[in-house]
Amino acid sequence: MSDRVPDLEGAQARIREAFLNQESGLFVLACTAGFGKSTTAERIAADVLAISSQAGTLHPEEQLAVVSFSQDDAASIEPGLDTALDAFADDDAATERSLDEATANKLQRGLRQSDYIGTIDSVLRSVFEDVATEVGFDKMPTVGNEALLASLRRDCLEKLRENPEYAPQFEQLENAYADGESTAVDELLEAGREAKRDRRLSADAFRDQLTGTVDDVYPEGAPSTLADVREDIRRFYDNSVAESFEPAETATETVQRDQACHDQWRDCTEAFTSLVSAYERAYDNICLDRGVAAHGDVAYWIAAYFDTDSHDHPGYEPARDEEIRERIRRRHAVHFQTLVVDEAQDISVVQHDALAELVPDDARVLLAGDTNQCIYGWRNARPALLAQAFDTGRYFNRDWGVHRREQAAKTYRMRPDIIAAVDTVFTDVFTDPQRGAVESLETEYPLVTTDRDAKTVPSVRVAGYHANGVPGSQEWFETGEAGTLATYLHSAIATDEFVQEDPSEAVTVLFPRRSNMDTLERKLQARGITVANASQRLFATPLVRLVCAVVDWLVDPFDPARTRTLFEDEACAFLRADPPEDSPLENSPRHKVEAHDYQLDAVTEEAEFAPAVESFIRGLCTLAANRARHACDPGELVLEDIVQTLDLRTDPFDLVEDDERCLAIIDALLDHVGEWEGADRYTVADLSAVVNEYRVEPKDGPMVPVLDTTEYDVVFRTIHSMKGDEAGVVCLADLSNPVGARGPHGQRFLAQGEHLALAPPETDVRIDVEQTDAGSRDASTPLRWAANRWVDDRLAGAPPLRAAGAAHRADRWRLLYVAMTRARDQIVLSLPREQAAGPQAPRNNWLGTLQEALKLERAPPRGSYELPVQRASDERTITVGINDVPFDPAPVTTPSRPVPRAAEPTAPVQTQRTPRFISGSILSPLVTEFDRHWLPYVQGRALHTERAEPDRSLDLPFGTIGPDGLGTIAHDVLAMATSECVATETLRACTGPLRKALRSSLTRHSPTIEESERRAVEEFVSHTLCPQFAATETWTRLQTSETTFTEEATDTLVDIGGLSIETQNHIDVVSMAPDGTWHVDEVKIILTPPDETMRRRHNAQLAFYAWALQQQLSQDAEVEATLTYLGQTTQTHQPQISQSRLRRQLAQLRSR
C-alpha cells in the first residue's frame, strides 16, 4: 500500500507554496477557529526541514524557530513536527520533501535538542542566557518565579517608601486613590510599571500618554463656568444628559470642584509617573541584585539590549560592546532564519520587539493567527500587530519586500450546525461597532465552511432556565441557572444523549470565570455526576490552605499565640467544630486547647478528641519536635513531612472530593515548591512567606492538574484555559455577566491596548453626571472617567476612555467566540428562557446576543426547533434542541475505581536491618551485639569488643600509636616477611627489607610520633613479634608452601535469608601446601591474654575466611585454618570449622 502525506488544502496549500517558493519574506495566514493553522504551520516547518535536508544542509533544525504563545500550544509543536516528518519518511511518492527514515529520525532528534521550539517565553529565555550578564545580572536569573517576584516587588516598594524623596508622591497617591492605604497604591505602581514596560515606553512617553488622556478628558482645559462643564457632558454623553445635569452644589462650587479634579489629576499623574519610573529603576536594581526576573522582563531586556539607541550607560565601550552584541545577535539570528509564529495574535509589543531584534532581514517568517481569537488583551497581547502584518506587510519593525497573505474561512473541527450557529452569532457581533468590531482583520465576517458531516441529533442545544435576580450575580446563577443546567447535564449524560466521536471523553463545561464553578459542581455531584475542575487554583483548595496554616504555625510551634492563630485559621474549621450531639465529647477541640493556654504538649495528655483530630494534634506535636530536622531540610521536605506526619494523603477531614485528586493536589504542591526553591533552601520562615504569597492571591499561583479527564463525566475549565484546545461536547455556562463588567470604568489604572490612563482622584472632586445607585461602580456615570453606559449607539465618556471601554468589550466578545468554537460535535448553551432586556440586551450581554441570534423566542418549552441561517451559498435551517432531554433520570452511579493504596494510611515500617557487606572480622561482633555495633558499622568504623588494658609488662607507652596502630604496623612487617619469603634469620632479627618496612610503616601511620614511643614500638616489633613469629609452626609451614598469597582478597556472595550479601575479606595469608591442602592464616597481635570473647571472634573470622576460600576452589579442595597469636603470648590454634554453625551465625544477621 502506498502511504502518502496528507495534502494541505486551499489556503493551507497556497500559503505553504508561497512560503516554500521564497527564500525570504513575510507570510501571514489568517484563519478561523478549527482551520488547522497549527497543523499547517507545523507542516510547513517540517517541509522546510525536509527540503533543506535534501539540499544538503547538515542541521536544518538549527535554522528553524517555531513558537507559540501558551505552554499547551507549544507542547504540541514537536509532536506535530514529528508526525509530519514521519509521514514524509513513510511517503512512497518521491517529492522534494521525501526523506528516508534515518534522516527523519535525525531531524527529529535534532529538534529535541533545539532551544528554539516552544513558547515565546522559553525561546526568549534561551536567548537571555547570553544577554543576562550583559545587562547586569551576575548569571542567568531565575525567571518567572511569582513567589520570588511578589516578595521582590514588596521589598522594592518598601524601600522606595523609605526614601524621603518620594514620600510626598506616595502620600499624594494614597490620599487620592487608597484612602490612606498603601496596598492599593502598590498595586497601582506595579500595574503602571508593567504597562510601561510591556509597551516599551520611555518615562517621557509614559508621562505624555497619561497626561494626554487628562487633556483629552478636559479638551478645553479646566472649566471656567458651569456651561463649560455642561459642554463637556454634552461631548462625552449627549445633549439630554447635559441638560438634565443637576449639580449637587452651587455652580461655582461645581466648577471649582471640577477644576480641582483637573489640577489634582494632573498632579497625581505627575506623581504617579515619577514614582513608576523610580519604582522601575529600583525594581531593575533589585532584580539584578537577587537574580530574579519576570518573563516580561526577559523580553524587555532583550529588546532593550539589542536596541542600539539605548546604550548610553556608564562604562559603555562602543567598540567592545558592539562586537559582543553583534556576535550574540548573529549567534541567535541563525536560529530565526525560518520563523513560524503560531497564535500570532497573542504576541505582545515587548515580545514582538524582542523577536524583531533577532530575526534577520533575509528570514522567512510565517505568522499564523486569528484576531478574533485574541483574548489576552489584559496580558498586553497586541492583535493590531498581526492585523498590520496582514494588511501592509509590516512586522518586526520593517516592511517586508515579499509579503504574501492568505485568509481562510474553513473549519475542520466543528459540525455544520455548530459553525452555522457560530456564524449566525458572530456575523452580527464582529461587524457591530458596539460589540466586537475592534481590531479585526476585516470589517466583514466571512461565513465559514466545514469539512465535517452533519449529524441527525442536534449539534446545537440549549439548556433553558428561568432567570432570577440580577444577571452576573451569584443569585442569578445559584437560584436560576445552576439547577436547570445540572439537571440537563445529568439527564443528557445518564441517557447517553451526547453523541461524540470519542465516547470516553468527558463533557467539557466552560466558564468565563471561576466563581460559580463550585455551585454547579456540588449540584452535579449530588446527582452522581463526577466532576473534575481543571481550572481550580491550587492555593485556593482547602487542603493546601490547611498545609499553609500549618507551615505558618511551624515558624514557632511552641508559641501559644501561633497555636491560637492556627486553631482560628479558616482552613482549620474542623478544630472549631462542636462535636455532634451523640458524641461523648463536650467541646470543640479549640475549647480544649484554649483551656490549656494553647500548649499542645499539655493537651495531648487527654485523649478526648475525635480520632482524626487527635491524630492531627499528635501530628502537630511530632512536627514541632522535628525542628532541628526542619532547620536543615529544604522547604519541599518540610512540606513532605507535614503531609506525611498529618497523614494528609488520606484526607482525614474530607477536604477533597476524591482520592486521586487529593494525591494530585499534594503532588502539585510539593512539585511547585520544589521548583520554586530550586537549588536554594527555604527556611520554614521563608517557606511560610512564599506559600502565603499564593495563599493571599491564589490566582498568581498554579492550578490543580487534572490528569485523566476520561475518568470523569464532566470537566470544568475556564474559557481562557481552553483556548487552543477542543472537545467533543462543550457546554457554556455562567454567561450572564454583562460584557461591560470589570471594564475600565472600575479601574484605577487603565492599560487596554494602546490606551493608558490613570483614573482621576477618588476624592470628592469627582463629579457624576447622573445620580445613580450608591456603591454601584458598574452603574456609575463619571464625568471625567470611563463610563459603563451607552449614549445612543456609543459608549459614554471621553474618546480615549470610550475606546478603551469598547476594546474591553471587544475582548469579551472574542472570548465568547473562542468558547463557542471549541466544540467538535455538540454545543450546549445555558440560556434563560425569558427575553433579554436591560443589562441582558444584546450589546451588553452574551445572553441577549445568543438569544437573539438563535431566535430563542421561537423555541418550544422542550424539544427542538428549526433556525434558518445564512450560509455561503444559500440559506438553510439548523436544528436547535432546547431542554430536549428527559429531566427525571435516576442518579448516575459511576463504577468506582479501586482506592489507590497511596491514599490509605501508611503501613508500619517493614524495612529492618541486615548488613549488606560482611567480613570475617566483624561477623562475631555483629552476631553477638548487633545493636551496639550497627552505628559504627554504618560509619565504617572498627567494631571494637571489650578488651582489657594492655599488659603493663610489655612496657608499651601508647601515646600516639594505640593498640590498633601497633597491630597495623606489625602486620605490615610480618606480611612483608611472608610475601618476600625472607630467611628465618632475617625475620627473627627483623633486618633487611623488614627493618625498612617497619620504619616506613611507622612513618606512614604516625608521622608525628615522639622518638621514645617510636623506639618502643620498633623494639617491640623487632625484638618480640618477629622472633615470636619466626619460632611458630605457622612460619615453618609457610616456608614450605608451594604458593603464598598475602593480603588475599577473598570475596564472594552469601545468601542470608534470601538476601544477597557481599563478603569483603582480606586474609592475612592464603597458601597451598605441597600436598595440595589450602591454608588460611591469620596472625593476631595480642597485648593481653586472649579471653573467650576474643577467641570466639577470631575463630568465627577464620571459619568465615576458610568458607569463603572454599567457594573459590574446586569442591574437593581441602582448606585448613590457623590462628596465630603473637605478643603477650605465642599461641597457635586450628579452630574447628563448622559450616552449619557459620550458617546459623549468618542467619542471625537477617532482619534485626
Binding site: 510551634p557 525542628r627 521536605l637 560509619q939
Partner: protein, 700 residues
C-alpha cells in the same frame, strides 16, 4: 548487533591498542586469578564501576589478586611519583576556578577574544570557561596537531560558530598556559596524563616499569569517552613501554571510539586509517521479559513502581532481587521515597550524600556564620540560636544533651525582643536577665563563652581545632539520642552518622573539615582569601558542593536505586527502569563549545574531526550506553516506566530508547489494580520469583 569480539587494530609499526571490546567484559573475568602480585591494572574512572566489577567477580567466585583496581589518575600519578621521587599535586576544580578568576581579573585585556563568546564580564562566566577548558583538553589534549585539527574543523563551520570556536580554541589555550605558569602544581588530570606519557616516552618506558614492574596489561573499562590525554598516556604505555592495553567500551559510544581510535593515536597529519562507515550503536535485545508501564505523572509512575516493589516483596522476592534505575537517580529520589514510605519500605539511593542538608554539616556551617558575624559586629537572635537549634553541645563541661525544640522555643521567645548584639553584650544581657539561670540559658551562655574563646582571625590549624570538636561532641551527645528515637529502619541515623564521618570522621580522605583547612591554608598562601570564618564557611560550602561524599548503603533490606550508568556489570532478576521520557532519558546533549563544532566532531565526517576526542555529554550515544547496561542488568524481568505529563500539564514523549525493545504494555485497568491495596501483581507483570533456579545476581 554489538560486536562482542576483540578487535585488533593498526599495522605493526604504528601505536596500537591490543584489544578493544564493546559491551563485553568477559576478558576482564578471564584475567582475574589468584596471584602473588597483580599482573593487570584495571582502570575504571568511577568508583562504583570498580565496586561493580569486584562484585561481578565475587558473584563468579573468582579470585582477583591478579588485578589491581585504580583510577587512571592514580596510575599516572604513581608513574610520575616514581620517576621524580615526589608526589605530584593536581589542582582540583575549585583551585582552577579560583586561578581562572584571578587571571581573568588581572589580565582581562588578554582575553578580549573570549568576550564575544562568554560576555563582557568573563569572571562571571568562569565556571563555563572551566568547562570549555576541560572540553578542549579532552578533545585535543595539548598536542599542536590535534589543536590544528580542531581549528580545521572550526574553519568548516558557519560564521558565528566558526568565530566562537576559534575564539575558544585560542583563548582557552592562553588561559590554560597562564594557569600552568601560575602554579607549581599540575593544572588538571589532563596535564597529569600528558606528563605521565611524557615520562614514559622520555625514559623509553623505564618510568613505567619502575612503577609497575609486574604489570602485563592495563585495561580501561566502563568509559563512555576516551579523552585525548588519557589516550596519549595509553599510547605511550603500549607504544613505548610495551604494555598490553585493553579497552572495555560500552554499547553506545564504544563503536565510535573504536572507529576513530587509530586516527586519534596517529600524531602526524594525513596518516591514519581512512574513514570507513561510522559504526552505529545498537542495544542488545534483552533475553528476559519486558513490560512497559506508563502513568499520568511522575508521582503516579513512582506510586506504581512502589506498589510493584511492595507486591513483589510480598510475593516472595527479596530486596536483593530488585533494582530501580533512573537516568539520574537523584531526580527520582523524593517521589520514589514518598511512594515507598506508604508501604513502610525504604530505598538505598546510590548517589551522592546530600551533605548540606545534614545536621553535622549545618552545625559546622552555622557556627562559622555566627563566629563571622560576631567578629564583624552584632548578631541577631535568630542567627545566634541557629547552631543550638541544630544541636550544638559543648565539647567539654557538664552539658551533655542538646536543647530540645521546646527549650529552644522558650529561649527564643524569652530573648526575642532583643536587638542584634555583640558577643559581650549578649553575655551581659543573658546574664542580667537571668539571675536564676535555667538550663536553656545556661546552654546559650556556654555557647557564647565558647564563641568568645575562639580565634577571630582563624589560622588554618584553627579550622580543625575549632570545628572538629563540635562534630565530636555531636557524635557523642546527639547521635545516641537519634538512635534511640529513630524508626526501625534507622534512616535518619544512617544519614546523620554518615555525615558525621564525612565532616569529621576517622578516615583521612573523608574529612571535610581537614580538607577545608588544607584548602584554606593553600588559598591563604596564594592570597585568594583572607583570615575570616566567612571564608572558612565559603570553602566548606564549595567543597561540600563539589565533593559531598558518598552515602552509606549498608542495609541490605533497602531497595537499590541506581543511576543508569552505575548498573554496569550488575545483575538483578527484576529491574525497573524509570523515567523513559524523551529529554529525560535520553537527556539533551550539552557542552560549552558551540553546537556546530560539537556536532562536527561527533559526526567525524572529516579526518580532522576524527582526530579529536568526543565528550560523553556531546552525544546521545552515551545515553544508549546507560540504557544498554540497564537492559543487560535485568536477568529475568525488565519493567520500563514513564510518565505522560508534568504537574503543569505539559506532555512528554516516549523515549526513543524504547524503540529498541518490544515491550508488553500494561493497560490502565491493570495499572489501577497495581496501585490499589488489593490483589497481587497484575498480569502481564511477572510476579512471584522464578521456581526454576537461583537468580544469577540476587539470591544464590
Amino acid at each position: 548487533m554489538i560486536d562482542d569480539t576483540a578487535t585488533e587494530l593498526a599495522t605493526s609499526n604504528s601505536p596500537r591498542i591490543g584489544q578493544i571490546h564493546v559491551a563485553d567484559e568477559r576478558g576482564l573475568y578471564t584475567r582475574a586469578k589468584r596471584a602473588e602480585r597483580p599482573t593487570d591494572i584495571v582502570m575504571t574512572p568511577e568508583q562504583l564501576h570498580r565496586r561493580n566489577l569486584k562484585r561481578a567477580l565475587a558473584r563468579r567466585d573468582k579470585p582477583r589478586s591478579s588485578l589491581t583496581f585504580q583510577t587512571p589518575t592514580d596510575v599516572a600519578r604513581t608513574v610520575i611519583e616514581t620517576q621524580s621521587s615526589s608526589t605530584p599535586t593536581v589542582l582540583d576544580q575549585l583551585d582552577r576556578i579560583r586561578g581562572l578568576e584571578t587571571i581573568l581579573k588581572e589580565k582581562s585585556e588578554a582575553y578580549e577574544e573570549l568576550r564575544p563568546v562568554f560576555g563582557s564580564n568573563l569572571a562571571a562566566s568562569v565556571e563555563q570557561i572551566e568547562i570549555a577548558r576541560g572540553e578542549l583538553r579532552l578533545v585535543a589534549g595539548t598536542d599542536t596537531e590535534r589543536l590544528a585539527a580542531a581549528r580545521t574543523v572550526a574553519d568548516g563551520l558557519s560564521g558565528t560558530a566558526a568565530a566562537d570556536t576559534h575564539a575558544l580554541l585560542s583563548g582557552i589555550q592562553t588561559l590554560d598556559k597562564q594557569l600552568s605558569e601560575r602554579t607549581d602544581d599540575i593544572v588538571s588530570e589532563s596535564s597529569l596524563f600528558h606528563r605521565a606519557a611524557q615520562a614514559v616516552r622520555e625514559t623509553d618506558g623505564a618510568a613505567w616499569t619502575d612503577a609497575y614492574s609486574h604489570i602485563e596489561q592495563v585495561a580501561v573499562a566502563g568509559v563512555s569517552s576516551l579523552g585525548t590525554p588519557l589516550l596519549e598516556f595509553l599510547t605511550a604505555l603500549s607504544g613505548t613501554a610495551g604494555v598490553d592495553v585493553a579497552l572495555y567500551l560500552r554499547a553506545g559510544t564504544g563503536p565510535q571510539i573504536r572507529h576513530r581510535l587509530q586516527v586519534r593515536m596517529t600524531i602526524s597529519a594525513g596518516s591514519g586509517t581512512p574513514s570507513q562507515s561510522n559504526d552505529q550503536w545498537n542495544i542488545q535485545a534483552p533475553s528476559c521479559s519486558v513490560t512497559e508501564l506508563h502513568a499520568a505523572t511522575k508521582h503516579e509512575e513512582c506510586r506504581a513502581v512502589a506498589a510493584l516493589v511492595d507486591k513483589l516483596l510480598t510475593s516472595g522476592h527479596t530486596p536483593s532481587d530488585i533494582a530501580l534505575v533512573a537516568r539520574n537517580a537523584d531526580e527520582y529520589e523524593r517521589p520514589l521515597s514518598r511512594a515507598m514510605a506508604v508501604y513502610g519500605r525504604h530505598l538505598s539511593v546510590w548517589s551522592q550524600l546530600e551533605l548540606k542538608r545534614t545536621l553535622p554539616y549545618r552545625l559546622v556551617a552555622t557556627t562559622c556564620e555566627v563566629l563571622e558575624t560576631l567578629d564583624s559586629g552584632t548578631v541577631p537572635i535568630d542567627q545566634l540560636l541557629r547552631p543550638l537549634a541544630i544541636h550544638w553541645t559543648p565539647s567539654r563541661g557538664s552539658i551533655k544533651t542538646p536543647l530540645s525544640a521546646t527549650e529552644m522555643s522558650a529561649l527564643k521567645r524569652h530573648l526575642n525582643d532583643s536587638e542584634p548584639r555583640s558577643l559581650e553584650s549578649w553575655l551581659k544581657h543573658v546574664g542580667n536577665e537571668n539571675d536564676n539561670i535555667e538550663a536553656p540559658t545556661r546552654h546559650l551562655v556556654a555557647f557564647l563563652n565558647w564563641c568568645r574563646d575562639q580565634p577571630t582571625r582563624p589560622a588554618p590549624e584553627d579550622v580543625s581545632n575549632v570545628l572538629a570538636p563540635l562534630v565530636d561532641a555531636f557524635d557523642r551527645n546527639v547521635l545516641p539520642a537519634l538512635v534511640a528515637n529513630d524508626a526501625p529502619d534507622y534512616s535518619d541515623v544512617s544519614r546523620t552518622a554518615r555525615a558525621v564521618e564525612r565532616v569529621a570522621g576517622e578516615t583521612d580522605g573523608d574529612h571535610l573539615i581537614r580538607e577545608t583547612a588544607a584548602k584554606y591554608d593553600d588559598w591563604l598562601k596564594q592570597g585568594h582569601v583572607s583570615r575570616t570564618w566567612g571564608e572558612v564557611r565559603d570553602i566548606l560550602d564549595a567543597l561540600a558542593t563539589v565533593r559531598p561524599g558518598r552515602r552509606e548503603h549498608k542495609n541490605a533490606e533497602r531497595i537499590d536505586v541506581l543511576d543508569a550508568t552505575d548498573t554496569w556489570l550488575r545483575s538483578y532478576p527484576y529491574v525497573i527502569a524509570l523515567g523513559l521520557i524523551d529529554g529525560v532519558w535520553p537527556q539533551r546533549t550539552h557542552g560549552a563549545f558551540p553546537f556546530e563544532f560539537r556536532a562536527a566532531v561527533v559526526a567525524g565526517d572529516s579526518i580532522s574531526a576524527r582526530r579529536l576526542g568526543v565528550r560523553g555529554a556531546w552525544t546521545e550515544a552515551r545515553e544508549y550506553d546507560h540504557f544498554a547496561d540497564v537492559v543487560r542488568t535485568a536477568s529475568d524481568n525488565l519493567v520500563v516506566t514513564r510518565f505522560r505529563e508534568d504537574v503543569e500539564g505539559v506532555s512528554y514523549q516516549r523515549s526513543p530508547l524504547l524503540e529498541t525493545l518490544d515491550p508488553t504494555i500494561l493497560d490502565d485497568a491493570a495499572l489501577h489494580r497495581l496501585c490499589s491495596s488489593s490483589g497481587g501483581v497484575p498480569t502481564p507483570l511477572p510476579g512471584a520469583p522464578s521456581e526454576t533456579g537461583p537468580y544469577k545476581g540476587g539470591r544464590q
